[in-house]
């Protein structure tokens, strides 16, 4: 397997966290993984993004320039990273925040009303989990059970209730 993700959106949307979830799940399942965030004023000023690679082999460049999956949680990210999707790859986006204007016919586009649906379910802050649920389902990168197992290792010990909430959001996203 060689999956290369670009995940991008606003700071506070949990962009870095879903990247970490993918990388951590990969590590727990004996894949080679890397997680590279954007950093600096960009991180503080509003946009957040990270590159995640999950591979059977040692990872060369941790920079993702030809993503198998791009996950865009805001409009600017959709525009900025559309060109970074490898031919045959997929652009996932939160259609409640992004008005898509697709310019390519060699990639797939999958929109999910993640923020809207998550908010309706009272889990507005977990739109990222809705979206990643959909990505997991469509990309087949990991089985959901494997992700849930890994999730246990990322939820703070002091807030075990977050595990159930996140799991529920991922499941809801996967079932869309």
């Amino acid at each position: 397997m060689q999956k290369e993700f670009i995940i991008s959106g606003f700071g506070g949307q949990g962009i870095l966290f879903i990247g970490k979830l993918l990388a951590y799940t990969g590590m727990k399942n004996n894949y080679e993984v890397s997680w590279l965030p954007s950093y600096g004023p960009e991180m503080r000023g509003g946009t957040a993004s990270c590159n995640v690679i999950i591979s059977d082999d040692a990872i060369g460049s941790p920079l993702v320039t030809e993503a198998t999956e791009v996950i865009a949680m805001n409009g600017p990210s959709f525009v900025k990273f559309e060109k970074s999707v490898a031919p045959g790859g997929t652009m996932y986006y939160d259609s409640s925040l992004v008005t898509p204007n697709p310019t390519r016919d060699d990639i797939k586009y999958i929109g999910v009303e993640a923020t809207k649906l998550a908010t309706e379910m009272g889990m507005g802050k977990l739109a990222n989990m809705f979206l990643i649920g959909k990505v997991l389902k469509e990309s087949g990168v990991f089985e959901l059970d494997v992700v849930f197992e890994a999730l246990k290792g990322l939820v703070p010990a002091k807030k075990p209730e977050l595990y159930d909430l996140n799991k529920k959001a991922i499941e809801a996203g996967a079932n869309l």
């Binding site: 970490k20 890397s34 950093y39 060369g60 460049s61 320039t65």
Partner: protein, 353 residues
């Protein structure tokens, strides 16, 4: 071997330092290495160690000087502009033969420059940086696991040869996460610290940690004595890794994270039928001259790939010693090259063969 954990390079270096017996860390915030300080501030109190935020990088390196003078394992960390400020202290530390470890997570320069990854401090790190005849041992990890392994190594080299050791990464290495494990640290090796200023207890003659020698003959002797130690380090500690060099026509030389990008390009070139290879220096000082010289006997050309306007390329040229052409490809200012642009350069070079 411990269980794998997902960690940022900056944090992995900090944890590895603690496991190496580093008891004192003196920091000062600067992007993109601040996580080293943040991690130390959290962990040091848990292991009965010290984290202290100094008033400046100048003060921090001099605190390291003081702590190292007592024989303790001490470390500081910074990024390019801060490392410039530390040069005074580094020269004194080298001149006083004190062991310590300095982390440099390089960002774009000159001046305040930028905060994105760069390798433009190669000259500063490998050619002295401060005043006087001295060298730092410079280690350049390319993965987070190697950050751990080389941090262990750094403290041992420092103590064994009584020299400052720099771990030089870039912003990408500091910020990215990869799985790492922390091998059990070998604490069985002990080092001579009879020179340390940790009080006489009225039981021995006093020790002096000093770099001032007014008599030129005395200073010359000491500098040459140190040079002999540098020769020994060169003989014993030089490290590099090479890939596909046996039959390579075009040999890339790249270090740190850029070696990984270069590796992607080499593999793509191979897939196209171009015989490319890669040498990755792990020690930037001492530079793996012999490794390169050996490959230069059979290679047709060399390509130094760096995130600078061309610094290591001079060392590559010295090592190749005119046996074949040495070319350069670089990006600077914080721009990280992608495999394709390196591949383009390899293809261009292959047409000249």
């Amino acid at each position: 071997m411990s269980e794998k954990v997902l960690m940022k390079g900056n944090e992995a270096i900090a944890e590895a330092a603690i496991r190496s017996g580093c008891k004192l860390f003196f920091g000062y915030p600067i992007t993109p290495q601040t996580e080293v300080s943040a991690y130390m501030s959290k962990r040091m109190p848990q292991v009965d160690g010290l984290y202290l935020q100094a008033e400046s990088e100048v003060a921090a390196i001099n605190m390291v000087y003081g702590a190292a003078a007592t024989g303790a394992r001490a470390m500081t960390s910074s990024s390019s502009p801060g490392i410039s400020l530390k040069q005074e202290g580094l020269s004194y530390i080298a001149g006083a033969d004190l062991p310590c470890v300095i982390i440099n997570i390089v960002r774009g320069g000159p001046g305040l420059g930028g905060i994105q990854p760069a390798q433009s401090d190669y000259f500063q790190a490998t050619k002295g940086g401060g005043h006087g005849d001295y060298n730092l041992v410079v280690l350049a990890p390319s993965t987070i696991q190697e950050c751990v392994d080389l941090t262990y190594k750094a403290f041992d080299i420092a103590d064994q040869y009584r020299v400052p050791v720099m771990i030089m990464g870039d912003g990408m290495l500091g910020q990215m996460m990869e799985p790492v494990s922390f091998p059990a640290h070998d604490d069985s090796v002990t080092f001579d610290k009879s020179w340390a200023c940790n009080t006489t207890g009225m039981k021995r003659k006093k020790n002096i940690v000093n770099s001032l020698y007014i008599n030129p003959d005395e200073l010359e002797n000491l500098v040459w004595e140190r040079q002999k130690r540098y020769d020994l380090i060169t003989e014993k500690e030089t490290r590099a890794e090479s890939f596909f060099c046996e039959d390579a026509d075009i040999v890339l030389v790249a270090y740190g994270t850029i070696a990984r990008v270069a590796m992607n390009a080499v593999k793509k070139a191979r897939a196209m039928g171009i015989k490319a290879g890669l040498i990755r220096p792990i020690t930037l000082w001492p530079f793996p001259e012999q490794e390169i010289a050996n490959v230069a006997k059979t290679a047709k050309s060399f390509l130094s790939v760096e995130m600078s306007t061309g610094q290591m390329v001079y060392d590559v040229k010295l090592a190749v010693n005119g046996k074949c052409p040495v070319e350069f490809y670089g990006r600077t200012g914080g721009v990280v090259p992608v495999p394709q642009e390196i591949l383009d350069k390899i293809v261009e070079m292959s047409k000249k063969l």
